[in-house]
Symmetry: C2
Subunit: 432 residues, 2 copies
Amino acid sequence: MKIISTNQPDFKTFFCNLLAARTADTSQATKPVTEILQAVKNDGDDALCEYTKRFDRLLLSPTELRITEQEIKQACKKIDPELLDALDLAAQRIQKFHEKQLPPDLDYRDDCGFNLGYRWNAMDSAGLYVPGGTAAYPSSVLMNAIPAKVAGVKRLAMCVPTPDGHLNPLVLAAAYRAGVTEIYRVGGAQAIAALTFGTQTIESVDYIVGPGNAYVAEAKRQVFGLVGIDSVAGPSEVVVVADRHNNPTHIALDLLAQAEHDTMAQSIFITDNEEFAHQVSLAVNEQLKSLSRKEIAETSWKNHGAILVVKFWEEAIPLINRIAPEHLELMLENPDDLFSKIKHAGTIFIGKWCPEAIGDYVGGPNHVLPTSRTARFSSGLSVFNFLKRTTFLKSDEKGIEKVGPAAVAIAKTEGLTAHALSISSRLDSLHK
Amino acid sequence: MKIISTNQPDFKTFFCNLLAARTADTSQATKPVTEILQAVKNDGDDALCEYTKRFDRLLLSPTELRITEQEIKQACKKIDPELLDALDLAAQRIQKFHEKQLPPDLDYRDDCGFNLGYRWNAMDSAGLYVPGGTAAYPSSVLMNAIPAKVAGVKRLAMCVPTPDGHLNPLVLAAAYRAGVTEIYRVGGAQAIAALTFGTQTIESVDYIVGPGNAYVAEAKRQVFGLVGIDSVAGPSEVVVVADRHNNPTHIALDLLAQAEHDTMAQSIFITDNEEFAHQVSLAVNEQLKSLSRKEIAETSWKNHGAILVVKFWEEAIPLINRIAPEHLELMLENPDDLFSKIKHAGTIFIGKWCPEAIGDYVGGPNHVLPTSRTARFSSGLSVFNFLKRTTFLKSDEKGIEKVGPAAVAIAKTEGLTAHALSISSRLDSLHK
């Protein structure tokens, strides 16, 4: 791994290349996804069964789309109790953190006699997409479902593909633990279509969350506006900032934990000590050998990884804010100053005993985070995704007398006669 | 206008037809918009000037894209001082309401020794699109720009087309008042492209807000994810709930204030008194005559308007929550019970002296609201659009000892070796 210092002449070019979008081109998915959405909208369950046969090699009748309560309970029985306890600890901690997010309503009287404010309400229903195969992570089920439940969403429908009929029982257990009310064995763009338009078996929802492949991402983009969606997630990344008081092996493993997700993932290490940079680089090579997903992690590290050496920590701040990383580790003796100056990041992990993987499972904050520099303008999943505000205004005669004439003046200049008259006719009745 | 009671046998069918999406098909815009986005991404200012020549019949060199401070100040001088005062009152009230929305940060220590929380930060920059021609509303400029400024966004770039060189000076005045930092005379999908990708003259932004035609809406949909966007707005609507203690003319004008926006707009009147329903219906016909946008209002009212008579107010609640109206007026002697049971609406106007048009200009809450039933899952524009949360976790040895083993167990079952090792290697060093 090349180690580059901020004072090298090619640093700026190197850094800009690091920032270049890693998002794969999904334009090839546009047309097939449009067709799938239209087919499910028109033909409902029949289209779902047809696509499930084609893509998942699974023959289903519409009555078999939904996974039964008995299947779910039997799946839970198969699982090691220790693992169920671990999921339970994770669920409890996620729930507690998200309960703290519930925002207060607003209601006040202003100096013109208006009562103004807003009330938060949960949406009625949400859909949760869970990928099939190796990417079916029980932790993601908890992270997506629990905020919805805490927000107060009554109906939570989950779709998960079961290629060749295979399904991870832990995913069912996590869904059961998180309070998912319905589970369907449907995946891909057809699942997003069903959740959006509804079919004979699957009722439509108001909002769709959850990660997926390029087809799922494109389907979410196309239905955005008909239903709400969380985000279109890109490849993920970590920036690890560490001083030489860390164990190089620990830092190497934190970098590899990101890299093992996906060949497009990105791990960037920032330190102030060139000797330590070399130690970590060697440790990465050493630790790579032991990983079950060695090839993925190695490709990610080679193609997108980087080690940057700064002269002093202050130099790291604009670099981190430019990257706006999904995950940021501050493995420093004195992290507070740096922490206070980071404006753009998904989640920040502080202290050498708090690696990113803690946050993936049992930290409490959500692991669904803005990827690929989108932390510049967006946040991780939270109860806010499942709540919306209704603002309100209440006034009596005094209110309209004070502010009405200004509204009439603006309405007239905008050419909206009925707007102006709806106020001036009331002012006239007051003055009669 | 047909008046229909909830006890009529065809009520259910009638109501479902009312709910049917009014959104126009924008699929024809997909391909041209993709081309425009690509051209601006590749050719920057040159493409902007070329499209401005083609669509706005305006020859510009790149240096003329930005509207100068002098032009803005001269525009302000042309405006009636009374109107400037009206805009100022509106701006003050919008600002005060939005200041109340600024949310608190979170920081607490939990029973496992973790420090958990989040911090809100504003995004660095935002772009504001303003339509040209008759739809260039100064009130919308205030409603879009002020929440960004209150949130703390430093850079606020506005794009507005000037067809044949024509520009509403009030739009410039409103932008100046609201703290917009840059204004460019560019419109359409090319403006959205410039704000997303940046050009030689226009620096890219993090987030784009503001209404526009089908091309602008499609462009926002296509760039969603590269930048944040507020929403893709559809045709707007009002539900007016009024008892017979109202003046029928006032209620008629409230219905027409919505209808005059757009032939696709929808005005629905709900009352408990059939005689009053007839009076309002007649008043609508009478008031239509006086409107400058008579044809638009009449088409909207004929095609999409409705008068529903309920037996008692409780009956109105599920109807309103199904509609999830952008605007809801509760013109009732005792509105509190109904108000407390509405879960899905953009803004609620309470009391017969508080018509919707007050909220369009000088109420304080935002007039950029979820349209076409999207209040089921989304909220009006607010400071939240321009803020994002960074969550954080901080722990010492105690924290990782308590929750680390559970994380290791889940990581292993998910097949993520480096995740598991990044925690277990730290637990090992503690136990040495």
